[in-house]
């Protein structure tokens, strides 16, 4: 019986795992002429907002992109302050819902002695207040890991674009595109209803994936905070494309690769977007799957 079991396992593994082989591919692209990149996102939360300006570097090179200084950067006519690496607003700056903001950048990027002008606009969406945040166990017992975070909020009629960021004990877990959740709701999917929405991006267990193959360990009593962000359309689309580019590609399900398209006018890459956020927190319960601190 053990023999048959072994054969069965081997056959299965042969069939399934044959597709799992990877190997280094010695193939590199040529570098490209540097292109200007402008990125900045406004939120309704009072804080210092930043605009970053940089140049692309060769994809397969050793250099990492660094920020550069422009001649002038303004939002709605107000100049921003260069702090040595980025442009900053005042610390009390908060974008207002429904208002349109104009970003303007003057820079001689191509070094021809002439200043080029780049600009973009974003209209800040209206907040969808996060009315409840709860944990839902995926186990039949209903009180053990893994948990899903359930966000309760009222969607408004028409197309709305949502993002969600997760904090764990006030440490931003969603500090990367692939750990940040986005979703859109419209008349075609679900529209204008009260939702208790399961956020599938984060399956809450005792350890979450973190950087450099490390884990972010969770304990009973840890506080999870979700910021439900209503995104401007151009920002949502930009994030959506960026997530596709950073995800694993497989021929069966992945489309052709392509550039992440932003809204900067004048020929620069990047995005100038905005969002309106709303937060709630929940505490991880004592349960068999979570250790205590």
């Amino acid at each position: 019986m053990r023999f048959i079991e072994k054969i069965a396992s081997v056959l299965f593994l042969l069939f399934i795992l044959l597709g799992g082989c990877t190997s280094l591919l010695d193939l590199k692209s040529e570098g490209m002429e540097p292109r200007l990149v402008i990125t900045g996102v406004l939120s309704t939360e009072p804080q210092t907002h930043v605009i970053e300006i940089s140049a692309t570097v060769p994809y397969f090179g050793m250099d990492l992109p660094v920020n550069i200084q422009a001649e002038e950067v303004r939002i709605n006519g107000e100049p921003l302050v260069w702090d040595g690496s980025m442009y900053l607003t005042e610390s009390t700056f908060a974008a207002k819902e429904g208002e349109t903001y104009l970003l303007e950048v003057w820079i001689d990027f191509d070094g021809d002695g002439e200043t080029e002008y780049y600009w973009a606009t974003t209209t800040v969406p209206y907040t969808h207040p996060l009315e409840s945040l709860s944990l839902r166990s995926l186990m039949p017992s209903g009180n053990d890991t893994p948990f899903l975070l359930m966000a309760g909020f009222h969607d408004t009629p028409g197309e709305d674009y949502y993002g969600a960021a997760l904090w764990i004990n006030n440490v931003l877990y969603s500090n990367r595109i692939l750990r940040y959740y986005i979703h859109s709701l419209n008349e075609y999917t679900q529209d204008g209803e009260y939702l208790r929405y399961p956020i599938p991006e984060w399956i809450i267990t005792s350890s979450l994936i973190w950087d450099n193959q490390q884990t972010f360990d969770l304990y009973a009593g840890d506080v999870l905070t979700v910021d439900l962000q209503t995104l401007s359309k151009e920002y949502y689309l930009y994030l959506q494309q960026a997530k596709i580019e950073k995800n694993q590609h497989f021929p069966l399900f992945s489309g052709p690769r392509g550039n992440v398209v932003g809204n900067i006018e004048g020929g620069a890459l990047g995005i100038f977007g905005s969002y309106a956020g709303s937060r709630k927190s929940v505490t991880l319960p004592e349960c068999p799957g979570l250790p205590s601190r």
């Binding site: 069965a8 540097p34 994809y59 992109p65 995926l138 679900q190 399961p198 398209v261």
Partner: protein, 786 residues
């Protein structure tokens, strides 16, 4: 004077000799020698059999679609030789002193041939017919090609024909002359198949036991067929035999069994065939619960009935049903095809007959997942019901007229997802995302004529096809402007049964063949084709989760013009054949997607598509050897394919995904002894085009790639060698035959890339990592027939 007299005498003698030689011709009596060639096993007529007079004059002809032939020959003794690929030739000696009507029954070779005919078409036929860019392969060749996982596969053989390449490693999808896989029309007994993959493309839906022959038309498609730009793969099912027979094979992960025979008298024969994989059969014995409950298999069933109602009426019924099942934990994917064809042949007279086909196909998939709290079910379906009426009228031996009508109704349900939560408290969530149903109604009229000129050296084929395509409600119609923005966000709701849009097109087809010498012919052809259904797929590998949609007000049909020319020759007593073809294709409204298209469950798909022009050109060389201990073929193809779409790649021309300039196929069969047979194939193809980033920048703590030109780089070249050894175990003369087949796929373990992903070292340096599917894959199968 003496010299002048000698000249006069010589001239007189010469002229006299001419007159003496010529006069019997004018005086000789001629008779018609006509007849029919039939399969001795099942009585099927054999089209394309060569009937040759062995009298040194080289008179010969081919049987027509009714298996009939006719030769006008002088009085006297003649020897007629009848040959047909895959059958034992027959000779008969007769004295022609009156019109003769003859009947020839040819006996098919057994499975285990000594030597092999690699293409199911006679060299004479290939030389003379005004058709080109066509490959016919018999099921026996498919059985001899080395296998992957022990399962013979028709489409893997198709991928080794000149001008054809695999869409990707392990896939059933194929590329013909630089066209995309969805530009190939695949018919199984005239029923259109929309997805021909089992197991994500590792196997095709065609069970070799249930297939008789397949014909691949690489562009020069007959006027009676259409609807795709690149090719037609016409798969003809096998008929039942008049004597009961049982065939099968037992392999490591799959087995198959077929039975055929007659029911009652000789007029009704049947064939049933089935196969199933059982990679998961022993999994319930595993300790791991996840593995224990995993389901992973496919099965398919074929059925064929042939009823000879009387001498003028024949009925055929072909049935197919296949399903793939994959289930792990509470998540699963089911997909499969069903197809049925009812085919009626009616003979009004010896020269006028009718074929009527009614067909139905259904392809659907169901992707589902479930937890204790929620469930999701994603379904999609394509259905096609068709009627085909083909008339053939042999006006004279020099003119074969074909005309007819086809009608197909197509239903497309691109996708519907129903998500449900099952919470103990709070409101329930039920999300239903349904893409609008789309329906198309295609009606076609066609005619064609094959005109053989009296000297038998020139043959011309010309035809015209008219297609009208209607969009029919119910649906939600989304229209876009020239910038692909929606004219109305909500779309227009079209009620059921309303014909709301139509398109039509004329498709001329012309072919000419000139027999320059008895062994060399020169051919040329032109064809225009249109495609009214389109595949929307993220996949380059034949995903089961594919979506088909019809043309509509904002989705233009794709069209193609193709010209081809070539030289065809038979060498060394017709044991060798060689050909060289050149082709050029020009495509309009070729379809691609905008960057980062939203194809999954997106109803307003019109906003995601982009249209432009395409072109392809190339050369194909083929040499093959038939009926020898060492048989096979070697082909080399050089071809290019480009697209120009204003909104893609900044409007500059770019390589089509199928642009792979160099392709070499070597397929060899060697009979060491009567018991031992070896088959080897080697495939080489230039690497697939790939888009690589050339720059990067920071955003959201990630390095975002920047691309400059689409498909400007290539994956490493593809090549692999497969080999198989067939050991016949039966005793000579016994009806019970069996053999062991040992195959090795990818003999030297070439790591051919299937997917490429970006990786970053801790230093920030990026590198590429490829995923490859197969290293060396051995398999063993025991085949038997009774």
């Amino acid at each position: 004077m003496k010299r002048f007299s000698l000249v006069i005498i010589s001239v007189v003698l010469f002229l006299g000799q001419m007159v003496m030689t010529a006069s019997p011709i004018y005086a000789q009596e001629y008779f018609t020698c006509s007849g029919k060639v039939l399969d001795a096993v099942n009585g099927e007529t054999l089209q394309g059999a060569v009937v040759k007079v062995s009298d040194g004059t080289g008179s010969w002809t081919l049987t027509d679609v009714r298996g009939q032939f006719s030769l006008r020959l002088p009085k006297g003794e003649i020897v007629l030789e009848v040959t047909y690929i895959g059958y034992k030739p027959k000779q008969s000696r007769l004295y022609l002193d009156a019109n003769k009507d003859l009947l020839y029954f040819l006996t098919p070779f057994s499975y285990y041939l000594h030597g092999i005919t690699v293409f199911a078409e006679s060299p004479a036929h290939r030389l003379r017919k005004a058709e080109m860019s066509i490959e016919r392969v018999d099921a026996q060749v498919v059985r001899r090609v080395p296998t992957l996982f022990g399962e013979t596969d028709l489409l893997k053989v198709v991928q080794m024909l000149p001008g054809v390449q695999s869409a990707s490693e392990g896939s059933s999808g194929f590329i013909v002359r630089g066209g995309s896989p969805d530009q190939n029309l695949i018919l199984f007994d005239n029923a259109t198949l929309y997805n021909v993959s089992h197991m994500l493309g590792f196997f095709s839906v065609f069970n070799t036991d249930a297939v008789r022959t397949m014909t691949l038309y690489k562009g020069d498609i007959p006027a009676r067929y259409g609807g795709r730009l690149s090719s037609l793969l016409d798969v003809i099912p096998a008929d039942g035999t008049s004597r009961f027979s049982l065939d099968g094979g037992i392999g490591l992960i799959s087995s198959r069994l077929s039975a055929s025979g007659r029911l009652g008298g000789d007029n009704l024969t049947y064939l049933v065939a089935g196969r199933r994989t059982y990679a998961d059969l022993f999994l319930p014995l595993a300790k791991n619960e996840l593995i224990r409950n995993t389901v992973l298999h496919f099965y398919d069933l074929n059925g064929r009935l042939r009823w000879r109602v009387n001498d003028k009426n024949f009925l055929h019924l072909t049935l197919y049903h296949g399903k793939d099942r994959f289930k792990m934990s509470d998540m699963g994917l089911h997909f499969g095809n069903s197809a049925a064809t009812l085919h009626w042949n009616h003979f009004f007279s010896d020269s006028f007959f009718l074929k009527v086909y009614t067909t139905y196909t259904n392809y659907n998939y169901d992707f589902y997942g479930k937890t204790t709290e929620m469930s999701m079910d994603w379904i999609s379906r394509v259905q096609d019901a068709g009627l085909r009426v083909d008339f053939s009228y042999q006006l004279t031996t020099d003119h074969l007229f074909e005309f007819g009508y086809t009608s197909n109704f197509q239903w497309f349900q691109p996708g519907q997802v129903i998500g449900k939560s099952d919470m103990n408290s709070g409101p329930q969530i039920e999300q239903d995302i349904t893409m609008s149903r789309r329906q198309g109604f295609v009606n076609v009229l066609y005619f064609s004529n094959e005109h053989k000129f009296p000297d038998q050296r020139l043959e011309v084929r010309y035809g015209l096809r008219f297609t009208r395509f209607d969009n029919v409600g119910p649906t939600t119609l989304y229209k876009v402007d020239s910038a692909y923005n929606l004219l109305e966000d909500e779309g227009e709701v079209i009620p059921s049964g309303r014909f709301f849009h139509n398109r039509h097109g004329w498709e001329p087809r012309v072919g000419i063949s000139f027999l320059a010498t008895p062994n060399i012919s020169i051919k040329a052809s032109y064809s225009r084709t249109s495609q009214y259904v389109h595949l929307l797929s993220f996949s380059s590998a034949g995903s089961p989760l594919e979506i088909w949609i019809p043309s509509g007000p904002s989705i233009a049909p794709q069209t193609s013009h193709q010209v081809s020319a070539g030289v065809f020759a038979t060498l060394f007593g017709k044991n060798y054949e060689a050909s060289a073809e050149v082709f050029y294709r020009n495509l309009d409204n070729v379809l691609d997607f905008k960057e980062h298209p939203n194809l999954l469950l997106y109803d307003k798909i019109e906003t995601e598509l982009r249209y432009g022009k395409g072109k392809g050109y190339g050369l194909e060389f083929l040499i093959k050897r038939n009926n020898q201990d060492l048989s096979g073929w070697i082909s080399y193809t050089w071809s290019r394919a480009f697209r120009t779409i204003p909104e893609v790649n900044e409007g500059k021309p770019y390589r089509a995904p199928s642009d792979r300039p160099h392709n070499v196929n070597v397929v060899l069969f060697y009979d060491i002894t009567r018991r031992l047979q070896v088959s080897v194939n080697w495939i080489y193809a230039t690497g697939q085009p790939i888009t690589l980033p050339e720059g990067r920048y920071w955003f959201f703590n990630e390095l975002v790639p920047v691309y400059t030109e689409r498909n400007s780089y290539r994956m490493p070249d593809y090549h692999r060698m497969d080999a198989s050894l067939n050991i016949r175990l039966e005793k000579p003369g016994k009806r019970w035959k069996h053999a062991i087949n040992v195959s090795v796929y990818n003999l030297y373990g070439r790591k051919n890339p299937w997917a490429v992903n970006y990786r970053m070292r801790p230093t920030g340096e990026q590198y590429l990592e490829m995923t490859y599917l197969f290293s060396v894959v051995p398999s063993i199968t025991w085949n038997f027939s009774f």
